[in-house]
Symmetry: C2
Subunit: 461 residues, 2 copies
């Protein structure tokens, strides 16, 4: 049967050219993680369904790819649920395993089950694919790469500083300047809610305020009023949201407002510590910016919250984010373990680097040298030399068959191989070889005795 081959929507094949770039980005991340003493971890592509469900909210659960049971187990299909249109229950009766939806839950599962052999604070990084049954669109895929760094088992604010330094290190190594690390603290958001007398509506508040940069203060106000916040309450916080000036200055003002109203200032203290250290050490490529409207995934974070935005010209949202969490492993029976994590948005960072031409040239491992193929004496010399070049990791190849010269040269041209070695009958008679520079078209004759040495020399260009 002949099929028109294609791949599922939202998935990608990666050719050598794309992989060279992806690999460049991965190596920079890996080196940064490792220099910061994060240890690598890899978890299985699929977990037990029970490990994943209930961790990502209703919407998240719906986007988890489930693996169909095989063989006789299929007979356990819960047909009654299907009939009752309970598709969730029906699918659970057909599946016991599911593909990794993120790296955080498998990490929490790993930490919980290895809590007795890990050394805390445990710092791990993980660069692996995750899968989501999301509708594919520009920059959004069903299979994509996540790059996470987490530290668990320690509450020191130095870990917050580490995460910000790590971000800066990565973007500096990538030569990407102008990214902004926005920072906020759950405790400050809680304080603001308290100030309004709306502690009970924290989630509604954060959902509204998170849209500040899209809809402006007016938009946030409107949403809050729609949700039942009083105008009086909103007026109380306007001066805070509108605070201008240095981060330390703004924090000082918040502190005095909170103090006046008997509100806890832990968040202010934490951020002040962080800004003080960062100010002393200077970030290289990014800037740290206090943003009192930043609230990403608040029901998850318990302390500092950060998010990285690309340089101003890019309108693709955040290229990374993270924060402090205090209760990640409790659903796996390991209570009160504080942690902090950051996730780099691999595909979005890739798009930014590509757009700005920040991928270095010559990262593809193209063949440097092609030996043309004329006769068995020629191939004998070529193959011995090839073996030595390859031992030195010099990428090189022999044209596999004795076809006409033009076809062999055309192969070198198409593959952009810079040097071609010709050892034809004439050359063998003179104990020479011809080296052809495929870019300039120049060619020189040299003694065969020097073949290896000359090829090693040119391969460094």
């Amino acid at each position: 049967m002949s099929l028109k081959p294609s791949i599922p929507k939202g998935t990608r094949d990666f050719s050598a050219k794309e992989l060279a770039k992806r690999n460049y980005l991965k190596i920079i991340l890996k080196n940064a993680f490792e220099s910061f003493a994060f240890e690598p971890l890899e978890t299985p592509s699929f977990e037990k369904t029970s490990t994943l469900t209930g961790k990502y909210g209703e919407e998240g659960d719906r986007l988890i790819f489930k693996i169909l049971n095989s063989g006789e187990k299929l007979k356990k299909a819960d047909l009654k649920s299907l009939k009752n249109n309970n598709l969730k229950k029906f699918s659970n009766s057909l599946s016991e395993k599911a593909l990794r939806y993120d790296l955080t839950v498998p990490f929490a599962r790993y930490v919980s089950s290895h809590q007795n052999d890990l050394i805390f604070p445990y710092r791990r990084y993980q660069i692996q694919n995750v899968w989501r049954a999301d509708r594919p669109q520009y920059g959004r895929f069903q299979e994509f790469c996540q790059c996470d760094a987490d530290i668990v088992g320690d509450k020191s604010l130095w870990q917050e500083v580490e995460m910000i330094s790590l971000c800066d290190r990565v973007f500096n190594d990538l030569k990407l300047t102008g990214a902004t690390i926005k920072i906020n603290h759950r405790n400050i958001i809680e304080g603001i809610c308290k100030l309004m007398g709306e502690e009970a509506n924290l989630i509604d508040f954060t959902i509204a305020v998170d849209k500040y940069h899209k809809v402006g203060l007016k938009g946030v106000e409107k949403e809050l009023i729609d949700k039942g916040f009083s105008e009086k309450a909103i007026n109380k916080i306007k001066p805070i949201i509108g605070l201008k000036g240095s981060a330390l200055g703004v924090l000082k003002k918040i502190e005095s407002i909170f103090n006046e109203n008997g509100i806890e200032i832990k968040g202010v203290d934490d951020l002040r510590f962080i800004f003080n250290i960062i100010d002393k050490n200077n970030l290289k490529s990014t800037k740290l910016s206090l943003d009192l409207t930043l609230a990403r995934g608040l029901n998850y974070y318990t302390g500092m919250i950060i998010e990285v935005l690309p340089p101003d010209s890019f309108k693709i949202g955040s290229i990374g984010g993270g924060g402090r969490y205090d209760d990640l492993t409790s659903s796996f029976g390991m209570k009160k373990t504080s942690g902090i994590g950051f996730s780099f948005g691999f595909d979005r960072i890739f798009l930014v680097l590509d757009e700005l031409n920040l991928f270095p040239e010559n990262i593809s491992k193209n063949s440097k040298i092609l030996f043309l193929n004329f006769n068995s004496k020629c191939t004998e010399i070529a193959y011995k030399c090839l073996d030595k070049l390859r031992s030195k990791n010099i990428v090189s190849e022999l044209y596999p068959s004795q076809v006409k010269l033009s076809k062999q040269l055309s192969y070198a041209n198409k593959k952009k191989i810079p040097f071609v070695v010709i050892i034809g009958d004439e050359e063998i008679e003179k104990n020479q070889f011809v080296l052809k520079d495929m870019i300039s078209g120049n060619q020189i004759s040299k003694p065969i005795a020097n073949l290896f040495k000359i090829l090693v020399d040119i391969s460094h260009f």
Copy 2:
């Protein structure tokens, strides 16, 4: 809800220690592939079910992990098939995508769909995980890594030579000596069948003869007789199976027997070419050995067949295999494309290296330096230095909180961090730091001005 966390059977978590070894092996494979001018390729983890099914035989199809459709699509469940116990049809009604079962079929799919933009001969390597719903056992997993190299679009026997050289290169780089590359040719097996007058029963013959090393000649004979081969036919081939001596000598004898019986000698010619080239170039770590009973997956291979066995002491079967195929892409509508491939058995090679202690020491990227944490002056100096060390990819960390000395030292000990830097009140007063060698226990005082330089120097040990 509290769950006891565990992972699905047949899957694995990889800690830093294991990943250091796996990474070592991957880098050696990658360097070898790239030196031989193979380009990397990565394909999606899941393919359309129709791309995969029907390619691996009935047994293979059963072992493919299918992904359950989500949402409304579940309503298309073919309940009639379930009722009729046609589980295959039932599962197909619930799934449109399936996890990669090997790298060969996705590769064939890729080549077919990119046949107009690829440059042939196209050489690609692919190192990715595959998934099989196989019963887990020692050394067999449901998720495991495959490492394949293929060349398509060329029939030259130089490609066969390349594959053998590649094998030798990899095992030489791994310092694994004593592996044997067994070689045979489909055309020779066909010739032997013809000699018996049993061309029609080629598959039965290969299944029987493939067991030669397990059951011996008697065993093979018995199976052939059970399958209806005549004693007369079997006697005709006994002298061939029993041939002793050099490969070229054996090939010569086969040639004369085939010639006497009017049987094609293409297989003999091919193998003679290969042995001649290999003999001239000397394999470094492996030996090439003609094995007329080697028949792996014959319905797939059309020319040379090879298989690598580990050193004699290991009884774990082959650690790699491959061969020439002529029709891999035709099921995707691309006819008559000859190719050759080889697959390294990553997990089995890993077991062999581990058993023989062939993984180098010090491949883990452990922290080299820990700065202890006493006060804010100390951390300020430490953090500035840390930043510079990490820019040089020297793995280093700061103990995150000001706990008592013994706890901080115990952390360094447990994590096997070789050097610890102490900048306490006393040291700050003298403008000095103490460097403690955690292995010898020795410690020295040095001026803080030299901190960075001294740490860079010791980190090279």
